[in-house]
Symmetry: C2
Subunit: 361 residues, 2 copies
Amino acid sequence: MQTLRVELGERAYAIHIGERLLADAGLILPQLDLPKVAIVTNTTVAALYLQQLTGALQARGVDVLSIVLEDGERYKDWATLNRIYDALLERRCDRKTTLIALGGGVVGDIAGFAAATYMRGIPFIQVPTTLLAQVDSSIGGKTGINHPLGKNMIGAFYQPRLVLADTAVLETLPARELSAGMAEVIKHGLIRDMAFFSWLEQNMEKLLACDQDALAHAVRRCCEIKAAVVAADERETGVRALLNFGHTFGHAIESGLGYGNWLHGEAVAAGMVMAADLSRRMGLIAPADVERIVALLKRARLPIAPPDIDSGRMLELMGVDKKAEGGKLRFILLDAIGSASIRADVPDDPLQQALALCGAI
Amino acid sequence: MQTLRVELGERAYAIHIGERLLADAGLILPQLDLPKVAIVTNTTVAALYLQQLTGALQARGVDVLSIVLEDGERYKDWATLNRIYDALLERRCDRKTTLIALGGGVVGDIAGFAAATYMRGIPFIQVPTTLLAQVDSSIGGKTGINHPLGKNMIGAFYQPRLVLADTAVLETLPARELSAGMAEVIKHGLIRDMAFFSWLEQNMEKLLACDQDALAHAVRRCCEIKAAVVAADERETGVRALLNFGHTFGHAIESGLGYGNWLHGEAVAAGMVMAADLSRRMGLIAPADVERIVALLKRARLPIAPPDIDSGRMLELMGVDKKAEGGKLRFILLDAIGSASIRADVPDDPLQQALALCGAI
């Protein structure tokens, strides 16, 4: 097991990474105020791992309430959130009950927001079971739900007390979801670490085959990068925005297609190609860099082109994005593989050309 | 104008208290990230003060969006909260839009929770227009909405950037609401300041007649007490619970009657009598102290006895209260007029006797 710390002062917490951590209740117990937890998960994950986690905790005398949600991004809404509130209230959970998210990004986001807002905040632990959640969404405290007018529009910054990333559970993850998570893995290399990007070029097949050592290395490196960025800028007023590389386009793609048609990581992959293309058109990176990025995404079995969405519609969808400030769009662009920066000076022409990629490939 | 500061480190903020601050846009402007605000208010307050505030801001070049809610505690729910989100999203408000709550406790709580959760948090300013909001609910960062199973069960701690308490607006407050606010004023004296309680005994008629100097003194002293308590314990892990004196019983009364039948302050007044009675039965204060408290509440035209709710039902309603911990009820009791403490050692007999007050007077 490897352990990292996310340095956030009084909100600092540990991330444990390794095989078969799920059933190790000894990691969770020291974090509980009272021996009472509510595990939020979904039907798919519950069938695979709920009993392991519940059994391990109950064996140590913990009172466990399970709240099993439907599986899918379309359930990341107010109605599902309210089901969590109802279950907590019906079981008289108070401020000392710890909420555990057992699942992927959707479960983590909605359970985290429930923890942030139930009785104005209760203790929270993340047990991410997808690659995307392990390398990205479980770290940094972003929680929330979708609104019909925009993804993640309702939410809060709320830090967990602990993140348990069990790499063994990735063996049961569908290949498409493993690939989707790989988009965020590649993103971490692109924005901050050229050597890690090269390592990914050398190890992509091992990762896709769930080689445990390779996975542990990738998860750890992503967590290190994300933890450092989050520690520097918890509430996304500056450098944290770099983590959104590919996401301005990606969110517009997700929203334009309707949530749940493409996986988040798939939309981000296509969004990263658009952002890389825009970086090239701005003269920031070479055509060969774009080709390397496209090649690695392809090997990760990810889409490398956005679907056919009208460029006017894309702009409209990007306009309500949270990263818009004062009406002006900011883009995260690459200066090189391994280095990104925030740009508010993107002229209309290269942007239109990048948007024309939609449906083009 | 008098100014206090709530000392909360990077979340510290000022409270300005005085006559006719509402139209002084110069107090608000320095707090805005961009000249764009969304004012959340209700139909009653909008008719009286929305134009003044809007006009003052527009005259200084601020883009103003108004969101006018229905008036009443029963609208402090998810549906109303969603109306705020919808309006903000439809007008493409981003993270730099400042949300201003213009109204009483309900408006402040729901607007504050909208500010806490819209795009994971946007700047927030409180302009409280009721006595209750000026002395209590606008200070300290508690925000939230009600759930069918409990009051304020969904919420967040979220601090405003500024509180503007304009005492002149209290002249248009209905007498019943002025009295309800006085319950919280009296509470501040009871829990922390005997001299202030005595001052209230000498000045109650002036306050009820909206004497501006008396109001400014009372609002200031309450804000000082509340700000000091909140600064010592922002997230209510200890001393802040003292501010809930009378509220464990009061919330049960509100909930038992159905929200909105009694005003919050009225339920708190009856709850404080129950808590004082329980303190006396525990031998902590003298019968004469209870009589002084009852007499002052009567002069403030507040109920001094709870309605007829079965004691079993009261206990059940108190059981889901947020202040319950690990299943054990804690009570805020008086050691003297001007001094309160948290007690987890209340035996069943005196509690049952205090509950028997329900419907008894």
